[in-house]
Symmetry: C2
Subunit: 256 residues, 2 copies
C-alpha cells in the first residue's frame, strides 16, 4: 500500500503546491505510481499540469460531498504513471458544509477508501490554513512533508503547526509523523536564509531533508506552460533539486 | 473619517502583510494617524512591529467575541502615530464560532464602531483565504488594495477574488471599491514578471498603482528585527518603494 503524504504549512506561498507537483512528477518519472489529490479550492496543483479546472464537474468536492466515488474522479495527467484528483473553486463551500457533518474530520479518509493500494505514493496538496480541509488531509495521511520558506515569518508558524499535528495525533488516534522538513526558496548566500536554516535545524533536528530547493524562476514559469518544471526544463536548478528530493525520499523507504 | 482599506488576496505569500505593515508605517512617518487591524490568526502583522503576540489576552479575537471593546485592545506601536489591533492563534477558532452567529459577516464592522473617526487611515490585514474573516474585513472596509505577486499562480486567483468582491457588494449592500492593484515581488527583468504585468494590466486597466514593489531581502529580514523595513533600513529599495506607495495613495485622496 502506498504511503499517503500531506504537504503541510499554513503559511502562504512557501512552496506547497510547487513541491506537490514536482515531487509527484519526479517520482513518476523514476517509475513510481503516484496519485496527487488537490484539496485546495485555489486548484493550483490542478493547473500545474495544464488541466482546465474551471468547468470540471467531477472534483475532490464532488467526492467529499458524496456525489462521486474517488476512483471515478481520478484523471490521468500527461505524465506517465501520475494521476490527479482535481480541485476548483467549488471546493470553497466545503469547509462550511462539512463542518456540520458527523465525523467531519474523517470524511476525506473515508472517501479515499482503499485507493492508496493502487499507488506507491499518494500526495495531498492543502490550502494555507489549519482549517477543516487541512485537518481532513492530515487524518487521511500517514505522514507530512513541511516546506518552509527560508524567511522569518516562516518560523513563526511552526509552533502552531506542531500543535495541530499533536492534536490530530492524540485526539483522532492517528500515527501521523513528519516525513521531513523541506527548506524551500532557500538562498544560502543570504544571512537571513542561513539564520532560518539554523533555527529550523534547532527546532527539528535531523528531520530535515538534505535536499533544499533554491529559488529558480523556471519553477514559477512552468505552470504557465501547463507542465511541471521537472518536465518543462529538466536541467534547471529547480528540476534537479526536486529530482534529488525524489531520490532522497525513495532512499528513506529502503532504510525502513 | 479615515478610509478603511483591506489588503486582500487569497493567494498565499503575495505580500499582504508586508504591504500592510510598511504602507501603514510609511503613512505614519509622513504624519498621518493610522490604525492597522490584524485579522489573521498567523499574527504576522503583529510580529512585524516586534510585538510578542503569543501571550496577549486582548486581541482582535476578544473584540469579535465581544469580550473587549476595540478601543481597549488598541496598542501603540513604536512608530509615532501608528496603532495596531493585534492578533494571535486564538483567532483561529473564530471562523467556526462566528459562522453560527446571526449577522456573521458584519461582526467586525459592528465591533469597529466609529473607530475610523480617530484616524486618517485604517488598514486590515487578512489571511490567505476567502473565508469568513476575510468577508468580515471586506464588509468593514471602504476599499481594497490587492497585492499581486508577479508570477503565474497569482493570475489564477483573480477571477475568484473578483467574484467575492462582486457578491459582497451586491448581497451585503456595500460600496466597496478597488483602491488599486499592487504588483509585488516584481522583477521586470524576467519574462514571467513582464508577462504577468501585461496580464494584470489587461484585466484591471488603469486601476494599477504606478508604484511596484521589487523583491528586496531587507523586506523579509526586517520582521526578525521587530521593525518595519521602512524604519529598519529606509534606504533599501523595499523601503523606498513603500514610501512612494504612501505618497501615491495620498495623492489619490487629493484628486477626490
Ligand atoms: N523554488 C522556487 N523558485 C521560484 N519560484 C517558486 C519556487 N517555489 C515556488 N515558487 C513560486 O512561488 C509562488 C508560491 O509558491 P506555491 O504556490 O507553490 O506555494 P504554496 O505554499 O502552495 O502557496 P499557497 O499557500 O497559496 O497554497 C508561486 O508563484 C510559485 O510558482
Ligand atoms: N518585496 C519583497 N521582497 C522580499 N521579500 C518579501 C517581499 N514581500 C514579502 N516578502 C517576504 O515574502 C514572504 C511572504 O510575504 P507576506 O507574509 O507579506 O505575504 P502574505 O501575502 O501576507 O502571506 P500570507 O498569505 O501567508 O498571509 C515573507 O517572508 C515576507 O517577508
Ligand atoms: Mg498551494
Ligand atoms: Mg500575511
Amino acid at each position: 500500500m502506498g504511503e499517503t503524504i500531506a504537504i503541510l504549512n499554513q503559511k502562504g506561498g512557501c512552496g506547497k503546491t510547487t513541491t506537490a507537483v514536482n515531487l509527484a512528477t519526479a517520482l513518476a518519472l523514476i517509475g513510481k505510481r503516484v496519485l496527487l489529490i488537490d484539496v485546495d479550492p485555489q486548484g493550483n496543483a490542478t493547473t500545474g499540469f495544464g488541466i482546465e479546472k474551471n468547468g470540471l464537474e467531477h472534483t475532490i468536492y464532488t467526492v467529499l460531498s458524496e456525489k462521486d466515488r474517488i476512483q471515478d474522479v481520478v484523471i490521468r495527467t500527461n505524465i506517465e504513471g501520475l494521476d490527479i484528483v482535481p480541485s476548483n473553486i467549488l471546493l470553497s463551500g466545503a469547509e462550511v458544509e462539512l463542518s456540520k457533518e458527523i465525523g467531519r474530520e474523517v470524511i476525506l479518509k473515508n472517501r479515499m477508501g482503499g485507493i492508496a493500494y493502487n499507488y506507491d505514493y499518494v500526495f495531498i496538496d492543502v490550502p494555507p490554513s489549519l482549517g477543516l480541509l487541512t485537518v481532513n488531509a492530515l487524518v487521511a495521511s500517514d505522514s507530512v512533508i513541511i516546506p518552509i520558506q527560508a524567511e522569518y515569518y516562516a518560523l513563526e508558524g511552526m509552533a502552531d503547526l506542531m500543535k495541530i499535528l499533536t492534536l490530530v495525533k492524540s485526539r483522532l488516534d492517528s500515527s501521523l509523523n513528519i516525513k521531513g522538513i523541506l527548506l524551500t526558496l532557500y538562498d544560502k548566500r543570504t544571512r537571513l536564509g542561513r539564520e532560518v536554516y539554523r533555527n529550523v535545524k534547532e527546532y527539528f533536528g535531523d528531520n530535515i531533508f538534505k535536499t533544499t530547493i533554491p529559488r529558480n524562476v523556471t519553477l514559477a514559469e512552468a505552470p504557465s506552460h501547463g507542465e511541471p518544471c521537472v518536465v518543462y526544463d529538466e536541467e534547471s536548478s529547480g528540476a534537479i533539486a526536486y529530482k534529488n528530493l525524489a531520490k532522497e525520499l525513495i532512499s528513506m523507504e529502503q532504510d525502513v
